[in-house]
Symmetry: C2
C-alpha cells in the first residue's frame, strides 16, 4: 500500500471545516466546494473521503458526537462523585458555554432538524435519535436513583422533565435569549429542589 496517510486525521480535518462553515452561514454553506476551500484541499478529495454529501454530513455528526462525549467525561471526572454533582456536570455539559460546546450544540440542532422533518412522514425511520435521547434519560435516571432525593420526588417523571429541559436551555443560550450562567443556575436550582439537603 502506497502513500502512508492518516485517514482518520484527514476526515477529522474535513469535518472540522464543515463545522466551521456551518457555524457561520448555516448548514447550507457546507457545500463540497466551500468545504474544500475551507480545508485547503481539492473538491475531489472531500468527495474521495466521504463519497456523497450525505456521507460527509453523517461523518460530521458522528465526529461532533464523539467530541461531546469526551467533553462530558472530563466534566464528570472533576466532580466529587455524588449523584447531585455528577448529574449537574452531565446536564451542564449540554449547555453551550465556550466556542467548542457552542459549535457542538449548533451542529446538533442543524443536523437533527432535517432528521426530525424527514422522520415525520415515516415514524420509526430514524431510530438513532430516539436511542440517543433514551440513553440520556437513562443516565439521568440512574443518577437520580442514587439519591438522596427529597420527599415525594419520582425519579421517572423527573428524568423525563430534565431530559426535555436540555434542548430548550441550549437553544436559548445559543440565540442569546439567556446567558449560560442563567441556564446553569436554572439547572442547579431545580436539582437543589429534587435532592435532599
Amino acid at each position: 500500500m502506497p502513500k502512508k496517510v492518516d485517514h482518520d486525521a484527514r476526515r477529522r480535518q474535513l469535518t472540522d471545516a464543515v463545522c466551521r462553515l456551518t457555524l457561520r452561514g448555516g448548514l447550507g454553506s457546507a457545500t463540497f466546494r466551500q468545504v474544500a476551500a475551507e480545508a485547503g484541499v481539492s473538491v475531489r478529495l472531500v468527495q474521495y473521503y466521504f463519497g456523497s454529501k450525505q456521507g460527509m454530513l453523517d461523518a460530521t455528526q458522528e465526529h461532533v458526537g464523539e467530541r461531546s462525549i469526551e467533553r462530558l467525561m472530563n466534566w464528570v471526572e472533576k466532580t466529587d462523585g455524588s449523584a447531585r454533582a455528577v448529574l449537574g456536570a452531565f446536564l451542564k455539559s449540554f449547555t453551550p458555554v465556550d466556542s467548542e460546546s457552542k459549535m457542538a450544540a449548533l451542529m446538533y440542532i442543524a443536523l437533527y432538524t432535517e432528521g426530525v422533518v424527514v422522520a415525520m412522514g415515516q415514524p420509526e425511520a430514524n431510530p438513532t435519535r430516539k436511542n440517543e435521547v433514551d440513553m440520556m434519560r437513562q443516565t439521568v435516571l440512574e443518577q437520580l436513583r442514587r439519591g438522596p432525593l427529597a420527599a415525594g420526588v419520582d425519579p421517572e417523571v423527573e428524568a423525563t422533565l430534565l431530559t426535555a429541559l436540555m434542548p430548550g436551555l441550549g437553544q436559548y443560550v445559543l440565540d442569546g435569549t439567556m446567558t449560560a450562567e442563567v441556564a446553569c443556575a436554572t439547572i442547579d436550582h431545580h436539582l437543589d429542589r429534587l435532592f435532599a439537603a
Copy 2:
C-alpha cells in the same frame, strides 16, 4: 382597480402549500417551483406575491405564528380561569398533539434553525426571536404570580425553567421519543409541584 382578488387568501393558500411541502421533505423542498405546483399556480404567481424566497419564508413564518396564537386563545378560553389552568393550557398549546399543531411546531423548528445559526455570528442581529421568547416567559411569569404558589417557589426562576422546557418537549413528541400524553403529564406534574394544593 381591476380583477377583485383576495390578496390575503391567495397568500394564505401559498403559505399553506409551503407548510405542506416542509412537512414532507423539509424546508429544502419549499422551492418556488414546488410551491407553485403544490398550490396549482404558476411560478410567476408565488414570485409575484412574495417577491423573493426569503419573503415567502417570512410570510409563512408569520402565518404559522398567527394560527398558533389563535389556537392558544381557544385553549385558554376553555379553562376555569385559574392561574394553574390557564398556565397548563398555555404550555400544552405548544405541544404538538394533532396534525395542525404538529405542523406549527415543525415549521417553528425548521424556520428558526437558520435564524439561530446566522444569529451566532452577529449577536443582537435577530431580535425577533428573543422578543418572542421574552413574551412567552412574561406570560408564564404573570400567571405564576397570580398563584397560589407552594412555599419557597420563586416565580422568576420557575418562569425561566418552564419556558425552556417547551422546546424540548415539542421536539421529543415530534420525533416520537415520547407521546403527547407523556409530555402533558410531565407539565401537569411540574405545575402541581409549583402551585399550592
